[in-house]
């Protein structure tokens, strides 16, 4: 499977934020997108996910076959908001995510074990701290399988131990042949990751 982005241009409210961004990622490859605030990292991720229209260029997923025809169908998108319902319990949130997205991978309990939060399953999501919420959102990446992970500031609010655990999860995903695009300011601890600096001329 190959995620190919060619000459991508994006805008925000009519103002161009970046153009001529190209990269290609094969199975097991990770791209770290860096750049100062407002350089269009989040916009890039949303365009790659298909949540925003591109103002130019193309995004495609080669070799996904019938099961993963495009990036949107093949991706987990972890945005700045956690996509969890504060009024529902953590377990309800995770099992909804699993049932709605299909392709179950880990159960809700196992996924919470992976982020070292086994005790919060029956708590409403709204009761958790910022870091715990982020960890539950990360557990949401594990409840159903998607080959492409699009992560927007994934480690925001995480403590050091959680960051390490998350790096291990990302490495495991890459070893299984997954693809990761992560926008971040902090090193993710992944060796051999490609880097894309936004705000320059969009070179790889």
């Amino acid at each position: 499977m190959r995620l190919v982005v060619e000459n991508l241009a994006g805008d925000r409210g009519g103002e161009p934020v970046f153009d001529r961004v190209s990269f290609a990622l094969s199975d097991g490859e990770c791209l770290v997108v860096t750049g100062e605030n407002g350089s269009g990292k989040s916009t890039l991720l949303r365009i790659v996910a298909g949540l925003l229209p591109a103002s130019g260029g193309s995004v495609r997923l080669d070799g996904g076959g019938e099961e993963w025809p495009d990036v949107m169908s093949a991706c987990h998108y972890l945005g700045d908001r956690n996509a969890m319902k504060p009024a529902l319990t953590v377990a309800e949130n995770l099992s909804f995510r699993q049932e709605f997205l299909g392709r179950p991978f880990l159960s809700a309990e196992e996924a919470l074990e992976e982020v070292a939060l086994p005790s919060v399953a029956s708590l409403p999501f709204g009761y958790l701290s910022t870091g715990q919420r982020r960890r539950v959102a990360i557990a949401g990446l594990l409840v159903s399988f998607r080959p492409v992970w699009l992560l927007d500031e994934p480690t925001a609010g995480l403590d050091l131990g959680s960051e390490r655990r998350f790096s291990a999860l990302m490495r495991a995903h890459l070893e299984e042949g997954g693809i990761i695009v992560a926008a971040t300011h902090v090193p993710l601890g992944i060796e051999g990751a490609k880097e894309l600096v936004m705000g320059g001329d969009g070179r790889e």
Binding site: L51, L52, G65, D70, A83, K85, L88, L101, F105
Partner: protein
């Protein structure tokens, strides 16, 4: 190990996903902050206040009863509609719904959300209508007839409202705007609903033609509304 066999694609899987969404929205609707009871309370307020304003003319009350119930139910069901997608947008769940819907139509997701909203917020209005009919001095037949027309007609209001809510999803105070946007479209529902409700007791008037028109409106908007809302939602993301 992850990439074992491609999952078989069959309709049952989609049904399961939609059921999960329906149950999630049902839970959200009845839990604290869901606002399911707000509509019923509003309905209660409108109908209990009406006899005080109109005065103790029993015949007048029973004559305008079905229309009052319909107006009350209409306004009450429009009340929580603006939150239909806004709540999902604020916590990021809308992205999840759109990404998850890449395998089926966004319209289907909207349709299921409408059904859940109707069940938690509008169905209680239909159930409360025969009780509130007592305040309007309505006969048993008239009360049941009005509840029946509400049962058939209120889904149309929800489906139309979904399209309005989707258009106004990114506006912070879109509540009134949604009401104004959808009001012209719900007027036909109100007209046929009230005329069917009147026909139950007013003998020479036929019941079936306006009632079937009402059912047709509901079926029509059950298709048009979710498609329009789905289209608007996909293009309203930022």
């Amino acid at each position: 190990m992850l990439r074992m066999v491609p999952l078989p694609r069959f309709a049952g899987e989609d049904l399961q996903r939609m059921l999960a969404l329906y149950i999630r929205d049902l839970r959200l609707g009845v839990r604290a902050g869901g606002g399911a009871l707000v509509g019923v309370l509003f309905f209660l307020v409108v109908i209990t206040v009406a006899p005080f304003a109109i005065g103790p003319d029993m015949n007048l009350l029973s004559r305008i009863g079905p229309a009052m119930l319909w107006i009350g139910a209409l306004l009450a069901s429009l009340l929580g509609l603006d939150r239909l997608f806004q709540a999902d947008r604020e916590d990021g769940s809308l992205d999840l719904l759109i990404i998850g819907s890449s395998r089926h139509m966004m319209a289907l997701v909207v349709f299921v959300k409408c059904l859940a909203h109707w069940t938690t917020s509008v169905l209680p209005l239909v159930v409360a209508a025969p009780l509130l009919a007592l305040f309007m001095n309505m006969t048993f037949d008239s009360a049941l007839g009005t509840a029946l027309t509400l049962l058939a007609g209120t889904p149309a209001i929800t489906f139309i409202g979904a399209a309005g809510a989707a258009v106004a999803v990114s506006l912070p105070r879109g509540g009134l705007l949604v009401t104004v946007l959808v009001l012209p479209l719900v007027i036909p529902v109100l007209i046929f609903g009230v005329s069917a409700a009147y026909a139950v007791t007013a003998e020479p008037d036929p019941f079936l033609p306006p009632f079937l028109m009402l059912c047709a409106l509901t079926l029509f908007f059950a298709v048009i509304g979710p498609f329009a809302a789905g289209y608007a939602l996909k293009h309203a993301t930022d």
